[in-house]
Symmetry: D4
Subunit: 256 residues, 8 copies
Amino acid sequence: MDPDTLRVLLDQVRTGQIAPEQAMTQLQQLPFADLGYARVDHHRHLRQGIPEVVFGEGKTVQQIVGIARALLERHGRALVTRVAPDKAEAVCRELPELEYDTLARVLVAMRAPPRARESAPVVLVTAGTSDLPVAEEAAQTLRFAGASVDRLYDAGVAGIHRLMGEIGRLSAAPVVIVVAGMEGALPSVVGGLIAAPLIAVPTSVGYGAALSGFTALMGMLTSCASGVTVVNIDNGFGAAMAALRILGPVRAKAAP
Amino acid sequence: MDPDTLRVLLDQVRTGQIAPEQAMTQLQQLPFADLGYARVDHHRHLRQGIPEVVFGEGKTVQQIVGIARALLERHGRALVTRVAPDKAEAVCRELPELEYDTLARVLVAMRAPPRARESAPVVLVTAGTSDLPVAEEAAQTLRFAGASVDRLYDAGVAGIHRLMGEIGRLSAAPVVIVVAGMEGALPSVVGGLIAAPLIAVPTSVGYGAALSGFTALMGMLTSCASGVTVVNIDNGFGAAMAALRILGPVRAKAAP
Amino acid sequence: MDPDTLRVLLDQVRTGQIAPEQAMTQLQQLPFADLGYARVDHHRHLRQGIPEVVFGEGKTVQQIVGIARALLERHGRALVTRVAPDKAEAVCRELPELEYDTLARVLVAMRAPPRARESAPVVLVTAGTSDLPVAEEAAQTLRFAGASVDRLYDAGVAGIHRLMGEIGRLSAAPVVIVVAGMEGALPSVVGGLIAAPLIAVPTSVGYGAALSGFTALMGMLTSCASGVTVVNIDNGFGAAMAALRILGPVRAKAAP
Amino acid sequence: MDPDTLRVLLDQVRTGQIAPEQAMTQLQQLPFADLGYARVDHHRHLRQGIPEVVFGEGKTVQQIVGIARALLERHGRALVTRVAPDKAEAVCRELPELEYDTLARVLVAMRAPPRARESAPVVLVTAGTSDLPVAEEAAQTLRFAGASVDRLYDAGVAGIHRLMGEIGRLSAAPVVIVVAGMEGALPSVVGGLIAAPLIAVPTSVGYGAALSGFTALMGMLTSCASGVTVVNIDNGFGAAMAALRILGPVRAKAAP
Amino acid sequence: MDPDTLRVLLDQVRTGQIAPEQAMTQLQQLPFADLGYARVDHHRHLRQGIPEVVFGEGKTVQQIVGIARALLERHGRALVTRVAPDKAEAVCRELPELEYDTLARVLVAMRAPPRARESAPVVLVTAGTSDLPVAEEAAQTLRFAGASVDRLYDAGVAGIHRLMGEIGRLSAAPVVIVVAGMEGALPSVVGGLIAAPLIAVPTSVGYGAALSGFTALMGMLTSCASGVTVVNIDNGFGAAMAALRILGPVRAKAAP
Amino acid sequence: MDPDTLRVLLDQVRTGQIAPEQAMTQLQQLPFADLGYARVDHHRHLRQGIPEVVFGEGKTVQQIVGIARALLERHGRALVTRVAPDKAEAVCRELPELEYDTLARVLVAMRAPPRARESAPVVLVTAGTSDLPVAEEAAQTLRFAGASVDRLYDAGVAGIHRLMGEIGRLSAAPVVIVVAGMEGALPSVVGGLIAAPLIAVPTSVGYGAALSGFTALMGMLTSCASGVTVVNIDNGFGAAMAALRILGPVRAKAAP
Amino acid sequence: MDPDTLRVLLDQVRTGQIAPEQAMTQLQQLPFADLGYARVDHHRHLRQGIPEVVFGEGKTVQQIVGIARALLERHGRALVTRVAPDKAEAVCRELPELEYDTLARVLVAMRAPPRARESAPVVLVTAGTSDLPVAEEAAQTLRFAGASVDRLYDAGVAGIHRLMGEIGRLSAAPVVIVVAGMEGALPSVVGGLIAAPLIAVPTSVGYGAALSGFTALMGMLTSCASGVTVVNIDNGFGAAMAALRILGPVRAKAAP
Amino acid sequence: MDPDTLRVLLDQVRTGQIAPEQAMTQLQQLPFADLGYARVDHHRHLRQGIPEVVFGEGKTVQQIVGIARALLERHGRALVTRVAPDKAEAVCRELPELEYDTLARVLVAMRAPPRARESAPVVLVTAGTSDLPVAEEAAQTLRFAGASVDRLYDAGVAGIHRLMGEIGRLSAAPVVIVVAGMEGALPSVVGGLIAAPLIAVPTSVGYGAALSGFTALMGMLTSCASGVTVVNIDNGFGAAMAALRILGPVRAKAAP
């Protein structure tokens, strides 16, 4: 029942065409979504300046092409995450507007670019070079939503001096995303240096005791720096979405 | 080496009392903290309007009394978390200014209240009544930092209608903290309804397959609502600290 | 907004006291529960003939007394599960109408007995004597909902002949609940002998490799008898509730 | 020893051909199955209207062809679950009567269709599109046993309004099967809305903290909606068999 | 239906008192146990020379007294394992014939001693002194069944020379039971030195990475000495029962 | 230092060629193996009638060919376990005397057959058809050592009557090996029916909650039938070696 | 067979009292320990300047008193680790020479002090105050062996500047022991700063995701600083023993 | 800010070109690394005589070629670990100076050999032949750093006599590295025989209960030989680096 239908129903009550009891019965059986909650959901996407992002894993080439084409038509841009290289190639053959980022493993098209956000860049920190794909998935998601990014890569705690020289950049960020595998120690160090929100992303980098990322995950959750929050292993997209929740609705940069 | 010592050293260079080479050697061996990074840390606490919070578990009565007394003298308020009832009683006998909140299990004194924050209240949602202690630990920490709180308790997903009626309150919040044990499903539902930052806190409520909170923790990390972030099991304090990182520095309410 | 309020609103629309647009706004913001879903929930309890059951663990004596008294006033009966002996004693001192079953660890009062169900008894099978408390929690819950129970205890697979002699009783049951710890093998054997629904309850009986009930839980989930379903470890109450969902709404026994 | 052999033995006793002591010895050594228990088992399959279903995983093409051919000869229909596409193709080349359902990954032939059941359709609910294969395995199994199915797909808790509009369909079902991966929250929500038996099926959808389906499994077992039962991860077949146990023996629809 | 009843039934068939068809019906519904399988079970206990052993954990004082008294009356001896000291004291007050072994934590009475077995002693090896309680539980069980025991304690692999000097005693044993906690390495070493059956018992001795005995358990299962078998953690009783299965039926020592 | 060398040394002492002190020094530094312990080891293999068995996994084709050729030259027979089909084919091309058993995945040659053991056959029981490879690895190992085997396959507990009819065969065995995956319940049932040694082998058959064989492993370790012992998952070879330890040294069948 | 016995045997060979064949038989059956390996073990303790240390957990008061008294008589000093306060009190009443260190939970007496080692002090670093007991257990063990200790406590990575100022002290150490709970990040940071051996000790400090020390343990094992080694959770004693292995045999400080 | 820049700044202070306050501000914002800590790091590598080692896993052929070429230019040698055979082949085609060790799976070039260390060889012990790759990774790393190696392979505890004959070689080592899979028992035995530092390396050899190396890892951590330290599963490189930390700075062998 959309707003128009509801208005008709109420008009019918007003003019006596149907009795209040009948209207009551119909209203009690209304599907929830029809009362506007779906619109709330819709509004949320508008406010964040980011249309639905497609999770590519487990979807066929045809499904990805179909959904991406629909999104391009409606929003003028589309982002598909977790796409393996060969699948990406097949998708691009059918929908050449999409470009493949081999590091982030995402397909993206931005014919209609998002409104740029006025906030300072989100800082992305990684512990090692193997954490780059996860960080770049976050970077591409942020860029897709109009947020700018400052990359601070390969700043692991075993060479802590590399990090110490960058406190200025870290302190300027509205949100910091720290991506690390192995023992996941980096968010504790960064979290002790800055006051801004810090989202930690464990990665599945490492072997044996790294437990496919669970050692980093557990380490980040029990971080000795308070106020650090954590997302799922390798979830660069989720970290970017959390950062966007913090950045809030898009407000375009003021004209000069 | 504090700033005064540094200034003296540089003055000695200026006046020729010591050679630049000698000064250089001393500077290269400076402990890092002495160059001001500790002050950065100190500034962070000032900005958030919250002095160091004491983790009471594993500390003796004498240790808690000593630290709390020092904090009270310096800041005019003190907060001690995770204090068992009998230990709390012993601490209060020696330091009667501290009051014990039996639900949150915290000791608190606020002779000098914090500056009130101007932001809308942080909404605290719990799934069941057994999640209250964790939520209240968060509430007390927020209150201690001058943030206001809106409680929305006992809104578990098995009675989803209770939650549906409160979308308005949820949507008004700058940050929402969702506390839930058992299957930890509540953050997924709430995260799908709002666009604001959502911090999920798993609790150790439940038995058997609840795995002392790990089922809720893993469930929240793999939430189907994107952008949800998670803290450690039962870590109400950590959730509040993460919320404070998002709220940012205290800005006092404008005078009327 | 309860039905009466809704009727008033619609009457106001009918008589022109408020405009359809205003009513529409109010209706779109209606809390979901007010549209009757809570009643659905209420109906469910009526149909199953069982008022809300109180989970006693983690509740104080005062809380249990308060809730039980309210339930007794409204429904004439009350059931509280997972009550330790000393807590039970304290509760009974304040509310002597409640009786304590030391085996099932439940408090129960049935001043107004439930309508007896017409179906054949639910058969409760246990592997060993240590599984009795869990089975009896299920038995008390079923009895509280008016269902009758047939107990087939101590029929573990290491003495399989004890079970073989009871196939007749098993085959007559509308639902069978099998309670077993250790390796949890009993549901596989029983599930292979009968065609009725079988709810398996793992118990935390055993040590070492019994893994506090997880070995039985995992064994039951991977049972070689198809169509066996499982509930949480030691969850006799949950198994009874699942059985009641299968038995369906109470239909009183026909008069002779 | 089948019934005929037993009858001959007893006749021999009656006519004095063999002494009671000899008969007694033979009877004490009778294999159990010969005394009718296998028939009970046989009866169960007849009552449920479903011949043995073949688990295809780990079986060779020749084994599947052989068993399916035998089942088709005896029952006029056959169902093979968990068949990979390439193996299915090989099987179909040799036994073209079998058709392959690529989504459910089952091979099926129904030359002699089952008797249709008179009960209302079993409702199958899934949280996301990746849960479809497991749900369809259940659907094909139910269809194979003559039960009808109502599909309610992609109703995850992060878009809870989609589910809310379908309470009517859910309430009409004699059994509801809820299939969900990730945090496995959907059964709790559905279980709180309906009074019918609910069988929850965790799926291995998700990565990292999804723990290959164990997070969903544990979440469902500790569901805050009481009376929910659970089957093994990805076990759509098992859920269907549990539903068939609840539906009970086939009773053909009454003729008009 | 015991043998006598069966004989009567067959006599009635022989004399024509009941028809073969009637007898057939009765025989098909015979409980399995009545056909002699329970006797098989009974025979097993007789052959091993050991009446049922009582598992004391989780049983009340009254239950232990009752069962032990019944066993004493029937067999002239009784063994109760896993009895805590205070419970043992209470039991002994009521049944003074029982004696408590504080190390093995068993209650035992042997008014009628078992027939002594003719085989060489079972050798019990422990890694450290903390493994003694588990080894002694095995020793008491073996003694209770008439088997003799040779103790080789505190022979851990970190002092491997202690073990090397005892190869003669080890080689003489019909069965060796090796009890070890921590890394559980001892069975591998002993298993490489002897050809006899070796039963490994992991103990819960150790902390942290000892994982309450699971490290020893897993280590023993993956032992590099082939043909080692394992029982549950701390299960001295089970190891003794496995040894008795290997020793076989009691054969009294030949008279001189 | 082999026995000959030792004899020479002692002769030199006897004849005064070297002083006792010099001999003493040499003897104190003797490698342990030279004092006869290797012979003990060697004797063990002779007594069991089984030369070293080669674990094929992780070995190259050349390594397998080399070791097998050496064993064939010395003992006239060789057994290689855990050989994948393609590797087996390559090995057989170079050493055609070896034959490949595709079910047991072993390579075997028995030009010089082992001495046949006089004991009754070892009974091998499996729960399902997927457990056959593990059972056949045990069978081939037993056959290689001259022991005879009685196969009782596909006797899972969900069709318990199939097992009940075979108690006679089970009771005749000197050792029973029970192979089962999924919930691992079969050893409990068999262990309750017989008095002989029972070696349980968990298999990695199953998915999800079967935990790659750990559910069966844990279930067998916590079996409610006492005296059951367990080997590693899928370790058919280890179970056979444990059975051979129980059967003891080969004693050839008496001539007629 | 001690050296004297061996010499006697060889003399008997030399003088012809026994034949070489007889001597050979005796030598082949010599217990290994008698050939001097026990002496090697004994020498090791002498070289490290540390008599056997008693593990107090699980030992009775009488056992501790007995062993400590024997050690005091032989070596003039004794160390007992892991002693709870009340047990310590009881031990001290009987053996007042022992003193109890409440922080390290050790009993120690050093009537005859160890020879002081000439090496620079071992540096002990802890992340937080709750790690002190484990660090002090290490300190007391080192002191007991004559090694000196430099304490650098409360230098956790969330306040990394505290550590940075102490690089000089760290760099001077022959061995560094780093004790940390929670995420166990400290060894990675320290390991990146120094070139000396670093022994990491995880502690069971923390809750929830700290997993009783396993998160720290796994984090340390997968440390991004290469060459870090790890001991068991809370094993301060083990870390000290590893440090002593590195320091090597005691060499007394040269006289001036 | 490198030392030259610092000197210039101080000269400017000395000559009055900039005021001490300005210099102070600049110094407080100095990146940490610029104050010499990176040089410490650099010094460490020089002292150990080993340039950075490249972890090949997860790096592309081009990345490996690039880094190795740079290292060869600067240091005259390069070591790349964890390189699969096909990747190694591709790298060698582009950089033929690198040689591939198929057992250790490393690429190495040593145009400019390291200075040979004067210490006795590091002894490498393995339990079985499958542990060789891990041991050889350690050997190649040690060789690359100028350390010599003594290999003692295939000395598992099930054939303990092989180890006993090698105590002399073990006792001569400054450090012993013990590599073992399965139950990981070997370090306990070796650790009890020698006084030198012992680094244990668990390997992922084994199946089922071997838990991909975690059983060996946990067993080594809970070793009954005190002072054993452990590195990550299969981490031969890490063990070598730990040994190098113990060997300390390179001191060239004295000329003859």
